[in-house]
Amino acid sequence: MRLKKGLMVSAMAAVAVLGLSACTDSEAPTAEPEVQEEVEFEAGTTMAELNEAGEITIGTKFDQPLFGLVGPDNEPVGFDVEIGKIIAAELGIAPEDINWVEAISANREPFIQNGEVDLVVATYTINDTRKEVVSFAGPYYIAGQDLLVPADNPDGIEGPEYFTENPDAVVCTVSGSTSEKNIREYTDNVIAANGYSDCLEPVRTGAAAAVTTDNVILAGLADKSDGEFEVVNNAFTEEPYGIGVALEDTEFRDFINDTLEAAFEDGRWVDAWEATAGVVLDTPEPPTVDRY
């Protein structure tokens, strides 16, 4: 046990070192939400603890253009990041006091469970199996799984049915993702890599006909490809993105839900969108928060 504690300490030290070295040249890409100076929370709640500590640790994606993408300066940018800042601001925490931690698909639940992060905003689809281990606030956005093809769509792919009709056509996605599960309803000819950007090469060489995952992630990839790829724009699933918090932390979840609803109302949500994903995508209508 002592061994494990020692490891924890050095892990924190490592994170601290990384965090410090990252702060050297950060830029402020967008209008920051106004930080609440005077907020009171009921003692003992997660909100009171975070407000007291004056800092928060948020897990987000580091490799997803438009939503959560880290640059060489180690500061993530994107819509998820802005949503995280809005919540932190309501807790009285300034953007520079947020510790960003990379969340990948495999570590989102364990990070929430062991308190390594206070919340996760990371293109995180709300679903029933996940609800058994973490609680979700939101959704704050509803994505849908779609397909990415070479520009001008040479194969004429209209939707996932293409792969059912052409059993030889290969589609690429990320190993062990929900997108993989969904596309397998249509075809077994699926190849999978560690990241979505790894799927672009197979499409270039012709080893795969398309990449599939949530439309917003694909839009980000297309945006970074100088017009080499385009999104088919025919979503065939619904992926409500939620904010993951510790299981049964109902007060914190309600607080985030209230914050989201307020942000939907007063334009902070639209501002966040337009400053990030809105550069490429149309501004959608805010979704309805699901207080399950």
Binding site: L18, G71, N107, S197
Partner: protein, 307 residues
Amino acid sequence: MSQSVLYDAPGPRAIRRSRVTSVVSAVLIALGIAWLIFTLASPRETAGGSTQVGLFDASRWDILLDAAVWRALWRGVQGTLQMAGAAAVLAMIIGILFSFGRTARTAWIRVPTAVLLEFFRGMPVLLMMLFVLLVFASGSYVAGVAALAVYNGALIGEILRAGIASLPRGQAEAGLAIGLTPTATRFLIEFPQAFRQMLPIIIAQMVVLLKDTALAYIVGYPELLRIGVNNLSNFYGNAYFFTLFFVVLVIYLVINLSLSWVARFVARRTGSKAVVAKIPRRGIFGRTRGTAAPTDDGADDGAAGKS
């Protein structure tokens, strides 16, 4: 000159044949490299019908002029070294514990240790990292360090055990004869010798450990491969995918080759001083060019099993 007993000193015809082989292979390699460079440099037609500039086009390399990129890569190197360093120290400790457990006189300790060793030796590191992360809900750093430490600890334990087993019986007997307890004999007499003799193999194992930190992508730990290839190419765009791959490859080679060089240096140093256990049975290849004392073969031998 080569001292191998396997063949005669080359005569004029053998020398001529050897020269021809050298020239032919040099030409073939040069042609291969030229083709490689030509293919990579020429523009590429993708399956989607678009044309991309060749790999050596300036537009694929300009980010390397940006100091921020090198700072990010340096952060990756730090992440890699931090994980490798912590895992190496822990692996040594675990390895020592394993080697004692495995050579214990009581079966109660020996047998369970052997079972544990078999288990850890047979598990993929990727699986172990994921296991620690998901089951103990630890951070990615802890998951990576723990998996690398336990796995390499098991291997180092086996290396040390082999080292102890290779010592002449007289060493332990002498220890007992002067009145040391069996445990003290093991600690004071056998273990230091085994450790010194196996040091080159242990260092070679550390190179393997360092390479394996690249597997920590599975738990999202920010090491060189993840920051260099994944994060940076997502940020700057997929056109830099191969550029960053080559840069990261070169960095890994520089780090690992230096470490291997240190391993060889240590091997030579300890080789000259090493206890005359079983080492100097001169190998069939003799001392062929460049390779040092037989301990060097030992280093290769040890690394062989454990990638």
